[in-house]
């Protein structure tokens, strides 16, 4: 009897030890410590093995992703001028803030920001770090606030799954990592700074070219799924995503091809969204209170716009 009690106590204690230690964070931390002991695996990469950065591209931090996203955003707005309409941009940012509050990645280094672009082209875009763009052409075909929320939630989906970051070419990443493995004595600071700046410019090109070329179909499906997960609990009608896809598809026939390929509103995509919605138990709130404010803001778009 005494032996049995001791045996059970030992088993229970060992179990408790195991359970208390094997949390996800502890495992990752342990992994990073082990990796940091490997020659060439620098402290920076070891840090990145932590939970919250594990899905970053090549271990880039939130801050690094932010600077990359800023540069891509600056390039987008060098091609398409921003639509400087304070009321419109404020409204867009509020709709996006609702969606962000219900997303899986509500925090980015500097937060999410939306900007309307002054072009007739119909599209929406996002860059790493949370810079979202919607064109005047798109805003003018959207039906209501819920379809706008669906478009923004889709773009937030791309940001939270870091699709843009995945476009960075391995050569730029490997250059950064190889440099990160060197010590101060191996390279002089000037040379190091130049090579890192080169990698930064290359990475900006990678992400921008990727946005021009368009996301893969799987990435679009993934962002759609994220959008449904965001819209449901927020009170927006998740079925508005189907309406938005249909409107984009219809508008696409008469638009420039530039960037439009990033949103192929295929029947497949709509079917998948319909299927995903069957699994949601969220009941959307009435759209009525949101209709008037949408129409009020959209009705004034033309005043600040210069046609491009």
């Amino acid at each position: 009897m005494w032996r049995l009690q001791n045996r059970l106590l030992c088993i229970a204690l060992c179990g408790a030890v195991g359970c208390s230690y094997i949390t996800e964070r502890n495992v990752k931390n342990l992994g990073s410590r082990i990796l940091s002991l490997i020659p060439g695996y620098t402290l920076f990469e070891a840090f990145e093995a932590g939970k919250n950065v594990s899905n970053s591209r090549a271990g880039l931090t939130e801050e690094e992703e932010y600077y990359l996203g800023r540069a891509v955003a600056a390039r987008i707005m060098s091609i398409y001028p921003p639509l400087e309409d304070a009321e419109l941009n404020s409204y867009l940012n509020k709709v996006a803030a609702v969606a962000v509050a219900f997303s899986d990645r509500p925090e980015t280094f500097e937060g999410y920001h939306v900007q309307a672009l002054d072009t007739n082209e119909v599209n929406s875009l996002s860059t790493p770090g949370g810079f979202l763009f919607v064109t005047r052409g798109l805003l003018q075909i959207l039906q209501d606030e819920d379809t706008l929320a669906a478009v923004l939630a889709h773009e937030i989906g791309h940001v939270q799954t870091r699709h843009g970051m995945k476009a960075i070419d391995e050569k730029n990443i490997s250059q950064v990592l190889s440099l990160a493995g060197k010590t101060a004595s191996a390279l002089n600071c000037s040379e190091l700074g130049q090579q890192l700046a080169l990698a930064f410019r290359g990475s900006v090109d990678d992400v921008f070219n990727f946005l021009e070329k368009g996301y893969s179909r799987d990435q679009e499906f993934e962002a759609d799924a994220q959008a449904i997960d965001i819209l449901g609990p927020s009170g927006y009608d998740a079925s508005a995503l189907i309406t938005a896809l249909e409107q984009l598809s219809l508008a696409g026939a008469n638009q420039s091809k530039r960037w439009l390929s990033s949103h192929p509103a295929t029947a497949d995509r709509i079917a998948r969204v319909q299927e995903a919605q069957k699994g949601t138990a969220f009941i959307p709130s009435s759209r009525a209170p949101r209709v008037e404010r949408f129409q009020k803001v959209m009705g004034q778009i033309g005043h600040a716009a210069k046609t491009h």
């Binding site: 840090f47 932590g50 955003a73 600056a74 921003p82 803030a97 962000v100 900007q115 609990p233 209170p289």
Partner: protein, 161 residues
Amino acid sequence: MKAYRLCLAFALSALFVSCVSAYAEDKMSVQIKSAKLRADASHLGRSLSTLAYGDQVNVISEDAGWYKIKTVKGLEGFLHRTALTTKKIVFRSSTPGSVQAEEADLLLAGKGFNKEAEQDIASKDPSLNFAAVDRLERRKVEDNELAEFMRAGGLHVAPTE
């Protein structure tokens, strides 16, 4: 009998070590520019304080993507997991409270994806519209504005099934 005692002693020691180790692992750092400490585990929860990039916090518990944390000043509240990292934040020497380091190490800490890289790319391509990026970043939606916007639009302030 002896083996069981040995096993018991080992298990107790391991439990003590794991508790100490788990405590040490519960320190995390703020990985975003500024993070609002919330009274509830929700982005719509009341803001108690604002934590700065690199601030260290002690994690008390974790649930559904939210950490209950305690600041160095003893304030308790909630931060979303995406605001925190287990990694140590290395600051530049010009940043208040920063850690001194060799210049090359600092460059590497930012991997070249930093303000200096942005200035470099801007000087090589003056058409890049960073001024517009700065303007759009200045647009913020305050908590009370968002709450009013959601209320007026009949949106949910918390998930409703």
